[in-house]
Amino acid sequence: MPFNLLVLACLTYVAFLFLIAFVAERRALSGGRRWLGSPLVYTLSLSIYCTAWTFYGAVGYAARSGLEFVTIYLGPTLVFVGWWWVLRKLVRIGRQQRVTSIADMISSRYGKSSGLGVIVTLICVVAATPYIALQLQSVTLSFGVFAAAGTYGWALPDTNSTALWVAGGLALFTILFGTRNLDANEQHTGVVIAIAVEAVVKLVALIAVGIFVVWVVADGPGDIVARINDSRIADWDLVPSRWAGLIALSAAAVITLPRMFQVLVVECGDDRNLGTASWAFPLYLAGMSIFVVPIAVVGLKVMPEGANPDLFVLTLPLSQGQGGLAMLAFLGGFSSATSMVIVASIALATMVSNHVVMPLWLRLRPARAVSGDVRRLVLNARRFSIAGVLGLGYLYYSLSGGSAALAAIGLISFAGVAQMLPAMLGGIFWRGATRVGAGIGLVTGFAVWAYTLFLPSFGPGGVFPLEVFTIGPFGLGWLRPQALFGVEGMDPLIHALFWSLTCNTACFALGSLLSFPSPVERVQGLAFVNVFDTERAEPRAWEVGRVEPEELLKLAQRILGDELALAFFETAAQAQGTGGYLPDPTPEFLDALERKLAGAVGAAAAHAMIAELAGRARVTVADLIRVADETAQIMEYSSTLESQREELERTARQLREANEKLTQLSIQKDAFLSQISHELRTPMTSIRAFSEILMEGDVPPEMAAQQARIIHDEAIRLTRLLDDLLNLSVLENGTVQLDLRLANLNELIDKALRAAGQTRPERVFVVHRDLPSEALFLRTDPDRLAQVFINLISNSRKYCDAARPELKINVKQRGARVIVDFIDNGSGIPKDKQQIIFEKFTRLTDSARAGGAGLGLAICREIMANLGGTIAYLPAQGGAAFRVTLPLRLEKHPFADAA
């Protein structure tokens, strides 16, 4: 097969994946999540467990060690079949706590500790780097196979450059689809779908090669059985410690590998998917391994002596002249490698950005206030981390020179991540597990693993000189890396696994027994361990009333983005029964907000951010009682009293606010009455005076004309005032006649801007618009709507106090509704006034008598109600901001039903 054709096929395949990911993201956005989150897709996405190491390496493993390869699949099978024990709990906790990664889970369980997050992140990065290198190697090797077998005698120029290209391409794909959004829960629909497709490709490829081998090369299953028993594979010896140890190791790895945790817990959209995956994923694994031994046996027989059994899946069809089948196998291996690398780098990048970059940034940033665009920071941190992780993988690959030592690295990596098992299982089953214990256990386990397995894997003379292996460091024989404490003759892998996990678990248990947890830890411990029993054993950790909701909104906007944050605040405000966008900062609300933020930046960072605004985090008596389940009735009673008192205080505050508003309104009404009498009186006086002069008769005609004009002008002023009042009462009664027709929003805004230009025409206003987004046709009453726009723009022209005033007009369509935002860069409306600006007779500044009697916004509100929409003040936009929401197609008078 020509090498160029192979590259072309690869590129086409990648383009196809891009397309699928893109379409899936689109579908997810338009709400078509149903099949995207189906159990089938979930199960297929889990298949990233099977990497290139499995796809190619299993056959090689079988050729060397017989049936031992199957242990790598038996462990996960047991874990999934036993999903009722661990997986169900993990997934539930993951959803309830909005866990973003395995580091987040462990940090969150142990009191939202950022230190633990860093340790876990470090372990994961160190363990995953060689694994990623392994994937790059497998892709490079498989390219090499085609190049060598090419009929054109085409040789691969440089394996390093191939690996570099592959790493670069993967980084690009991952950054494009893995860091597009920072939405809650870290779910990446596009990536998951692409992974699911790749899962199908690799299964089909391996089974196709298997069928070809069994029924075409050999003579069916009977022949295969005979061949197996004849081949040298049948000479393999089952080593009991390895057999049991590897089953345990793979079982541990399937839940602690960062990439597995990502698809298993973080991307899990629905608990019910797990029930299906409990049997479907083992089925997939069985499908991936059923033809491994047949391929190995036939390969050993057919291929020339010395051929690399790791590549039989590819070379066997090639040697039989089956170019197409080999191509399919190649794509299968390519899929295995790419899907693993993509998910692993997303998972690691999330950890690095949430547990290393964010805490550092929170600590190093000079000002106390949350400043700058955190969203961009997080996303960029994530992008750089992805590039960094892949870069590390490439570096490892090129430094190790793609040696055969890489083949063993899969298991070494497994043993590394297995160090998180005690902290994880202890965290979800043992309430007594503490942060100190988990920290000591993790560090000890990681150190022992590195000393006994990871560093020795570079071989004698690699990191450790040969003497260290034979006589121990500094001549201390009991510290030999592969014979710790004098235990000799063990398989190195099992030796390392045994000692690292033993020391890890012992330190974890002892540390937990001897240390004392902080209150937050105890509350989180309860929430994790009893995740099914307690309705919501969340810590209500926030003091109330200290924090300005507007500050919270600013923070949320920086992390979640404007739209999401506003929507979240609006829903919360509605749930509390208050309108607008600023809910009361109740403990429940702060808690919900914290978890929402945690979905984007991780629990520890979210906790720290809110703590900065809301002050000291506090664990209430009620929480402590839940923790210390000695039912101290009296304490519970007093805590109930306390919470009732808080409730009363809140109600009282709301009442006070309402009262204040009423008082203010009444004062304003009085003020308005005197104002309006004044307004009515002034023209009346001049009308009376001039008409008296006219009545006396002997006025020169030109003077008479001038006086008549004054009388006329004053009469018009009076009429306008009365019109406004009348208009308002008509609108309020809902008896207004609407003139519904189609109107172009763009033209409407143009018209409003022109008309409002007459207000303070001397001011130069910069208007920012996005014309394409305004190209909407509305069915509404255009004149009334224009009136609202004119009013808002003139207000802005009148009151915006910036030296270089700017006005931003944003138009968005959300389903059947249109949102128009008017945002200027002035000082905005103070919070205490935001409540009353839409009331009648409200004027914020007495000095700026810019016409009007304080009816403008009141009229706007009534018009919008008549048009089936709303107008509201948008807080925290860096100036005065109004949001007009209206239906795209107004069918009938909104009050027609009520009338």
Binding site: V79, G82, V225, I228, N229, W236, V239, R272, L274
Partner: protein, 100 residues
């Protein structure tokens, strides 16, 4: 002839709980059968029976998958309300599915 119907309340909830027990037991059963080869394979037999060993493993594997699939649907997610959490009495002689 009327079958003796023992005093038993909340039969369905009871069945569901036993189903969960089964789900918890399944991996232990699987572990037992997967570890069984340790007992016979290294027995230094000269018989070349790797194929048979492999077939044995895949048969156990298939059975586990089948049982898990049978259990998965009625198990749900454990979130469904246990209809009528009643007393458990006299649970010794109820055949699966029981008289209704």
């Amino acid at each position: 002839m009327k079958r003796r119907s023992p005093v038993f309340l909340a039969r369905r909830a009871y069945r569901l709980r036993r189903l969960r027990d089964a789900a918890r037991l399944l991996p232990l059963v699987g572990m037992f059968f997967f570890l069984l080869p340790i007992l016979w394979a290294p027995g230094a037999t000269d018989r070349r029976d790797t194929a048979i060993d492999g077939i044995y493993l895949f048969v156990i594997w298939g059975l586990l998958i089948a049982i898990a699939a049978l259990l998965a649907r009625p198990l749900g997610t454990g979130e469904e309300p246990e209809a009528g959490e009643g007393q458990e009495r006299d649970d010794s002689d109820i055949p699966p599915g029981g008289p209704r």
